[in-house]
Amino acid sequence: MITPEISWLAILPEIVLALGAAGVLLVEVQWKPESNVLGTIAAGSVLFAAAFSVLQWAQAADSVEFGATGDLVVFSGLVLMDGLAIFGRFALLAVTAVGLLAGWKYIDSLGRRSAEAIALVLLASAGFSIMVAANNLVMMFLGLEVGSIALYVLAGMSRERARSDEAAIKYFLLGSFASAIFIYGVALLYAGTGEFEVLGIRQFLGSFVVFSPAVILIGLGLVVVGLGFKVSAAPFHSWAPDVYQGAPAGVVGYMAAVAKIAGFVAITRILLTGVQALDADWLPVVAGIAALSMLIGSTLALVQGDVRRMLAYSGVAHAGFILTGVVGGTTEGVLFYLAVYSLQLVGAFAVAAAVSGPDNSESSLESYRGLGRKSPFLAGSFTVLLLGMAGLPVTSGFIAKFGVFAEAWTNGFRWLVIVAVLASVIAFAFYLRIIVAMYMDESEVPAVDVPPTSRWVLIVAVGTTILWGILPGSLLSLAADALPL
């Protein structure tokens, strides 16, 4: 038996994150320090993980340049170190950093349990980070589960609140059901192709003509359903509003963003690399899911009276827009959209957390009335983020939407683009409703206290939203280089 060659660099970011999680827990047990010390450890591990990812990026670029792409398939094909994986990991790490900052006030308020929350965040990031790099579908499942289970617990961290419990239970039950569907799909894909690896499946489909690909297609369908649940695409979205509303506001933005990034990178990898050969079969289905998500998300968001539920439904719509990019057939648009949207999402929930206050109860539209006058910084940032999510020009959201629309149009899905532009108009209406409440309502509300850490999150989120709206090239060229193997 040959011991597989170990390419440590490929998994160093995950190792650092996991070590960080363990370190936070051990330090807490041994020294019971201030939570700021634990936060520093977490920040350090995220920074190191990011630094190693930069090294990976350089090495991956070298290998592609010299045609040695085989070097990027490591651990006997379990893990890949391609551009897609590294870009996805960058996005995850960025969201982890701003997510920890955005949730810091909440985490700090947990007292002795703050170490648990920090460790869970790091573990979730480690899990999703390995998921975006996984070539082997079982490996992908393991990453997905490590990440998801950490998120279930995070959702229920405020266990004294019934809402939080409800959110955690719902998320857990439906989430594990979806995971089961996913792994069953993986099993069927294996049955149909004899391969667990995405690249292997591609090779199989490239070298054999499959006359009745029914098993493969059913397996693929189940995999898409499982991942569709994780990214809250319609019609698998019903858990999202309850979880977004009930889970602690401080960490919801992080939870939603990492699940979306990892889920979509996995979907992109499987569909655009693994089963590209069968795209005549899956393109219409994925296009249908995309259209349904955009329409359901936009219309249901219109009638919500609660800002967090609104953001949940807007997330469903965004899942549809990102799937439009998948239908477009290239990773560039999807990755740009993911990076842009996930930062906006964390920023938006930082605002929601500040407005909800320490008891994390109030998030109805009522509590945003008159915010424009009382807390101009908060309301102004939220406005930019909402306009960015709506996809209005001069924000990164417009560039992102334009990118996925143009790709889908090029790929021949004109009807989907028309549905998408119409859904964006519906979506304008509910983003504007929040802005109306903040600026055009005369009622008096008390000023909202913004934690300094959240202030930084908002500066980053608003800054990138405008920067990438005006100079998209800085990120778009990276996204264009982040190709899957």
Partner: protein, 510 residues
């Protein structure tokens, strides 16, 4: 140069943003002073503008190479008058906003950003850039209506935003389609107007794309039956909002039809002459008829816009020299006169806090200067010879008579209807004896108000007496559009009739 013209208002907005919120009395004067700078630059552009067909003062910078998007600016005889008009109306709109006392700072910031966006729309030669400006200006206007409007402002702001966004959404799909086609035919995506107008389009594709663009612009104009957002937005908007909405933003629609529909889709434009012409004439007559029965002075002016913009659309799709020149100059005329009328309505509203015609009567005696300006602008709006409205409507009617005679005859009734609704309104508001106690104590216009109206009135008179100051600069560009249509379709532009010679630029003998 043009980049500066776009960026100056943005810089002004940033300056205002940095001033302390507490010094509220500073923001408006500062904003007016800062909006004079772009005006100066625009007048300079007007001065050095050469009467020729090509784009001038062009600038080209790559934005993001792989997508083919560029920062491509340029100006010609169609856009130049609109840029100047915009920079004239913004200081006036700000000067009319002394009654805005809440959140003045934001108000000035939004107005200046709006100005930057509007100039940007007129000078973009890249469709992507154009769309960015076209859509971005919805945001400041939305806030201006929604925050500083009257009672039903939120409803009006929302309706305005959703209507226009709906139109531009389909245009976005159209723009994507054009760029993708360019990629297929030439091998690289491009959004440049010059590149896209050279595309080889099938007639089916051309019709669809024409429809997508025309819908966006028709909502903006607004062309009947897509006009329902306009009375709401106008009535609820603050005076400055109404001035800029009527003066400039509606022109984005007529400008877009001229610049993009005629240039990019000549074949479909020729096919659409009748449809667009009929819709325009319905707008002329319907807008005027509804204006007659309006009890609200501001709504009356708003519906008169629907009617007047019908003339511009009719002139555009008449596809004759006179029609196109009339359409372009009428863009300016309508901006000046309707801007001034909204300004005047705003002034009386500030004094009496009502816009109901029935509340007034006999104001002539109490406010003679106000009445004088009002009558002057009404005459300009009706199209009294010697004032600017006459030039534009006359050119449009003569221009369309050669291609669409029936429609031109019906449209001419719009001029008479305009006289009816405007003069009748004047009679009810200004003549007779002041029978309401509140009206007897009204003060006449202040020096500030006169100084806002005087420049507009001067321009109205100037353009009425000597239209060639503009027509000479417009004509080469409109002729270029007609040449392009003739070159790519079977359509033959009819030679101007004897009457047309009177006004078509260069042939006038005074």
């Amino acid at each position: 140069m043009l980049t500066w013209l776009v960026l100056l208002p943005v810089a002004g907005a940033i300056v205002v943003l940095l001033t302390p919120r507490a010094r509220q009395e500073l923001h408006l004067p500062l904003g007016i002073a800062l909006s004079i700078l772009p005006l100066g630059l625009a007048l300079y552009v007007f001065g050095v503008f050469e009467p020729q067909a090509q784009m001038q003062m062009t600038e080209l910078h790559t934005w993001y190479e792989p997508w083919g998007i560029t920062w491509n600016l340029g100006i010609d005889g169609i856009s130049m008058p609109m840029v100047v008009l915009t920079t004239i109306l913004v200081p006036v709109a700000l000067g009319a906003s002394t009654k805005i006392t809440t959140r003045t700072k934001e108000f000035v910031v939004y107005t200046l950003l709006l100005e930057a966006g509007m100039i940007g729309v007129f000078v973009s030669l890249d469709l992507f850039l154009f769309f960015v400006f076209f859509e971005a200006i919805l945001i400041p206007m939305y806030f201006i209506i929604g925050i500083w409007g009257s009672e039903r402002r939120i409803y009006a702001a929302m309706k305005f935003f959703i209507y226009t966004a709906f139109g531009s959404a389909l245009m976005l799909a159209g723009i994507i389609a054009l760029a993708v086609l360019h990629n297929e035919q030439v091998g690289s995506p491009s959004f440049a107007l010059a590149d896209l107008s050279g595309l080889d389009l099938s007639i089916g594709a051309e019709r669809w794309l024409f429809a997508a663009f025309a819908l966006a612009f028709a909502i903006k104009v607004p062309v009947f039956p897509l006009h329902t957002w306009l009375p709401d937005a106008h009535t609820e908007a603050p005076t400055a909002g109404s001035i800029l909405l009527a003066g400039v933003m509606l022109k984005l629609g007529t400008y877009g039809l001229l610049r993009f529909n005629l240039l990019l889709f000549p074949e479909a434009s020729v096919d659409a002459i009748w449809i667009m012409g009929i819709l325009a004439v319905i707008g002329i007559v319907y807008g005027a008829a509804v204006a007659i029965v309006q009890p609200d002075l501001k709504k009356l002016v708003a519906y008169s816009s629907v009617s007047h913009l019908g003339f511009i659309v009719l002139g555009t799709f008449a596809l004759t020299s006179g029609g196109l020149q009339g359409a372009v100059i009428q863009n300016v005329n309508h901006g000046l006169t309707t801007g001034a009328l909204f300004l005047l309505v705003g002034m009386i509203y500030e004094r009496r806090h009502t816009k109901q015609i029935s509340e007034f009567g006999g104001l002539q005696k109490v406010m003679p200067v106000f009445a004088g300006f009002f009558l002057f602008m009404i005459f300009a709006s009706i199209g009294l010879p010697g004032l600017n409205g006459f030039v534009g409507e006359f050119l449009v009617l003569i221009g369309s008579f050669t291609t669409l005679p029936t429609l031109a005859i019906i449209a001419a009734s719009g001029v008479i209807l305009a006289a009816i609704y405007l003069l009748w309104a004047y009679e009810r508001v200004f003549t007779g004896v002041p029978d309401k106690e509140e009206n007897e104590t009204l003060t006449d216009l202040s020096v500030r108000e006169v100084s806002l109206l005087a420049p507009l009135a001067t321009l109205v008179l100037l353009l009425g007496l000597y239209p060639n100051i503009l027509l000479d600069k417009i004509a080469p560009s409109t002729e270029a559009i007609l040449d392009r249509i003739e070159a790519s379709t079977d359509y033959v532009v009819p030679p101007p009739g004897r009457l047309g010679d009177v006004f078509v630029a260069g042939e006038e003998d005074e």
